[in-house]
């Protein structure tokens, strides 16, 4: 399964990034540069939509953490939208990432948190 990344600019400083497919070694490598270039910008608010991610390995989590940290250092903020994706939710909870980067099952709640 291929791994894809796309985005929508909701407003000047608010971007929704959607990732789909397997975030394993190959998949994370395939989108790493684009993910960073889309996510990390001064004062940007970002929702990362993981609802269509079928597999989330530690290398994918590493990429999310790196970009969230870099974004935070530039005055921005990242939140994660997982919807009903139980597998991804379980992985993020098992590794404690949900306590470091806000994670939401509800799209509207994730937008609100990103803009807060």
């Amino acid at each position: 399964m291929s791994t894809d990344i796309s985005f929508v600019d909701v407003s000047e400083n608010f971007r929704r990034i959607s990732i789909s497919g397997r975030l394993d070694i190959s998949g994370s490598d395939a989108i790493a540069l684009k993910f960073t270039s889309l996510a990390v910008a001064t004062n940007q608010r970002v929702v990362v939509d993981l609802t269509s991610v079928s597999f989330l390995a530690s290398i994918g989590i590493r990429s999310i953490i790196s970009n969230a940290k870099a974004l935070q250092q530039r005055g921005g903020k990242m939140v994660l939208f997982v919807g009903e994706n139980a597998a991804v939710t379980k992985t993020l909870e098992a590794t404690g990432i949900d306590t470091l980067i806000p994670m939401f099952a509800d799209a509207a709640a994730s937008d609100t948190a990103a803009l807060a």
Partner: protein, 151 residues
């Protein structure tokens, strides 16, 4: 009652490179499906296998490339439970990834280091983990269990 083996042990050998990890995942899924392992348990094993292979390939040193990485899967059932056991054997330098206690979790994003999650995931997502060094090979073993469905 003693546990019974569902099918013969399944085996796969792969070269130690990252391009082979997806092939290993596909093999694991098919092997587990053939042995009646539920989808949620296959997902847990798949994540653990990915982390184990990433560790071996990334940190196994030059000797890791001398011989293939060998994967074994076997499934046992008894009257109440089933268990799927995966063994990952490699020829790298002796290294027990389970020897160190889990790191304390960062409290903030600023404190977080974007690495070291692989072993944590294996610990959290599998029901049992062990390591041994035998005949010049590291062997990392992890398993998942699920209850027998009442008919």
């Amino acid at each position: 009652m003693a546990a019974s083996v569902v099918n013969p042990i399944a085996e796969l050998s792969i070269p130690a490179n990252t391009e082979e990890v997806r092939r290993a995942s596909a093999w694991l899924e098919l092997t587990c499906l053939e042995r009646g392992v539920p989808p949620d348990e296959i997902s847990r094993l798949d994540l653990c296998l990915n982390e184990a292979l990433a560790n071996v390939i990334g940190h196994g040193g030059t000797s890791i490339r001398a011989f293939p990485i060998r994967l074994h899967v076997d499934v046992h059932r008894n009257q109440t439970n089933s268990e799927a056991i995966v063994t990952v054997s490699d020829s790298g330098a002796p290294f027990n990834p389970l020897a160190n206690p889990p790191k304390s979790r960062p409290k903030t994003l600023a404190e977080a280091e974007p690495g070291g999650l692989g072993i944590l995931m294996i610990r959290k997502l599998s029901d049992n983990q062990s390591y041994r060094y035998s005949n010049g090979n590291n062997q990392l073993i992890f398993s998942v269990r699920w209850p027998k469905v009442q008919q």
